[in-house]
């Protein structure tokens, strides 16, 4: 395979070379160099983190109660948050893709806002709305419902920051379907619900899944908004990123061990989802 690649590269560059001279051959090498640097820039820090000599701490950290609670909380909350995001975000994306309405540009901008907002600002905003003395939160606290300092707050924060990622991907997916396909399905007697689940979803599930994975990853890594809005308490609101932050102030080796654990968990789950999506693609879900 290497020989083939080299041969075609040489052939390609030779052809161009004969037309434009030496300058273009240099251009090819330059792009390879830039690409390689970029990949190294992304890969080397992760490699250094993983290869850091903290095996001893890694095993200790895995068994520690703090770690277990943080990991369980992280996976639990990010899964629920992703499901919420997929439902609400999916519906919103569909409406945005299909219906034009006044103020649509505003809604567009609003959806992208959480990406631009620093997470701590998000946390503060949520605090102002849903905090104990917040605009809406005060009603909840009067009726004895606690939001801040509970896992519910963690989920709310995660949903807020992850929504734009899914909505963007889902909207692009829905927009890529020819509306005539849906019209045909409805004309042929299928209900809107049947149309959605048997015509639309089988066609656009790849971008939906990709968006869901992205949203789920964002949920897992959420830190700033969680810290400010939900607080930091073991078992209730201390997700893995918060646990890592606490460990960082104490013992950097433990922090590294926890980081590797989080990285490994994310990697396994993303890889699993990708394998599942490949399998579904191979079988062909579309009827």
């Amino acid at each position: 395979m290497c020989a083939q690649a080299t041969a075609s590269w040489q052939a390609g560059s030779a052809t161009v070379q004969s037309r434009r001279g030496l300058g273009v051959r240099v251009w090819f090498r330059w792009t390879h160099l830039v690409s390689l640097s970029t990949v190294l820039f992304l890969g080397l820090p992760i490699l250094c983190l993983v290869l850091c000599p903290t095996q001893h701490h890694l095993l200790q950290a895995i068994g520690d109660q703090v770690t277990k609670e943080a990991l369980v909380l992280s996976v639990f909350t990010s899964t629920i948050s992703t499901l919420i995001v997929v439902f609400f975000g999916g519906v919103l994306a569909y409406v945005l893709a299909r219906h034009a309405f006044p103020g649509r540009v505003l809604v567009d901008t609003l959806i992208d806002l959480p990406i631009v907002m620093p997470p701590m600002v998000t946390g503060l905003a949520l605090l102002m709305l849903l905090g104990r003395h917040g605009v809406v939160g005060s009603w909840f606290s009067e009726h004895g419902i606690a939001i801040t300092f509970t896992s519910i707050a963690v989920i709310i924060a995660q949903v807020f920051v992850a929504l734009p990622f899914f909505v963007r991907a889902a909207r692009a997916g829905f927009e890529s379907i020819n509306p005539r396909l849906e019209q045909a399905s409805l004309l042929l007697g299928a209900s809107p619900r049947q149309t959605f689940f048997r015509v639309i979803v089988p066609t656009v599930w790849p971008p939906l899944l990709a968006g869901a994975i992205l949203a789920w990853a964002r949920c897992l890594g959420e830190f700033g908004a969680t810290l400010v809005f939900a607080g930091n308490f073991q078992g209730m609101t201390q997700t893995m990123p918060l646990a890592i932050f606490s460990a960082l102030q104490d013992n950097i080796d433990v922090a590294i061990a926890l980081s590797i654990l989080l990285l490994a968990t994310s990697f396994v789950l993303v890889a699993f989802l990708k394998i599942v999506s490949k399998k579904c693609g191979a079988v062909g879900v579309a009827p």
């Binding site: 300092f149 607080g231 930091n232 102030q249």
Partner: protein
């Protein structure tokens, strides 16, 4: 080399070197969050007396600052809310010279909304009181622990006080300022924190309940010159001396700190 390329490189070089030309000397100070107001004022006064020097300030919990220094942060002077963090760095050979900067006392901080429910220390053990404390490695959290232990020893709530307070704790914030923020917002009802954390802007929102002397703890703040960089920086030494001088101590007293103990 084309003229455009040369010009770009020249501009880059000049702007990079210009950042160094602005100030002849810089002093990098890492200080505990609870020292924010007095150290900022000390730095300003110091800069006025030494116009060629720029003091860069970095505030966080003492534990985090010490970890940063361990990891090689280019700090000249470190002001910690306890002596342990400075000692921990001294053992590693990272600090050269240390002294007690000031002292502080603890108190119960109560949000306005909860002031009717929390009137004395014992009320912190009541059902439904939400207590916010700093993370366990933050000096203030350790002082709070000591207060709780002393309260138990004195028989408060039949020796169950610390257990009740721990049960009422809802969050462990990264530093004392975030603790004060949450109490001021009313998210948390109360905290055991520094007397000095009720800064002028927070006074309308936080009530302070004094602790009985028998249960209170004295926090010893330490200041130290960090590493070779700090030792070689003449202005770092000057800042160190200034903070310990009458002028510097005045700012600390204004903020509510007790003077460093005279031996």
């Amino acid at each position: 080399m084309r003229a455009g390329n040369i010009l770009t490189i020249a501009v880059a070089v000049i702007s990079l070197s210009a950042t160094r030309l602005c100030y002849a000397e810089a002093v990098v100070v890492s200080a505990a969050s609870s020292l924010k107001e007095p150290i900022t004022k000390i730095a300003k006064a110091f800069e006025q007396e030494n116009p060629s020097v720029k003091v860069s300030l970095n505030f966080s919990s003492s534990a985090q600052l010490a970890t940063q220094i361990e990891q090689g942060a280019p700090v000249d002077v470190f002001a910690s809310a306890d002596t342990q963090n400075v000692e921990r760095l001294a053992v590693l050979g990272l600090v050269r010279k240390g002294a007690v900067l000031a002292r502080n006392r603890m108190a119960v901080l109560v949000s306005n909304q909860a002031s009717s429910r929390v009137r004395k220390l014992e009320d912190l053990g009541e059902q439904g009181i939400r207590i916010i404390l700093p993370s366990r490695n933050v000096p203030a959290a350790q002082y709070a622990e000591q207060v709780l232990e002393r309260a138990d020893a004195m028989g408060l709530a039949a020796g169950q006080f610390s257990a009740r307070v721990r049960a009422n704790t809802v969050s462990r914030e990264p530093d004392v300022r975030m603790v004060a923020m949450k109490v001021a917002l009313g998210e948390g009802d109360a905290s055991i924190s520094y007397v000095t954390d009720v800064t002028p802007d927070l006074k309308p929102k936080i009530k302070e309940i004094a602790l009985p002397d028998s249960m209170n703890v004295t926090a010893n703040y330490a200041i130290a010159i960090v590493g070779k960089k700090g030792a070689e920086n003449a202005f770092a030494q000057k800042f160190f001396d200034y903070a310990l001088s009458v002028a510097g101590q005045k700012f600390l007293a204004q903020a509510g700190f007790l003077p460093a103990a005279t031996k």
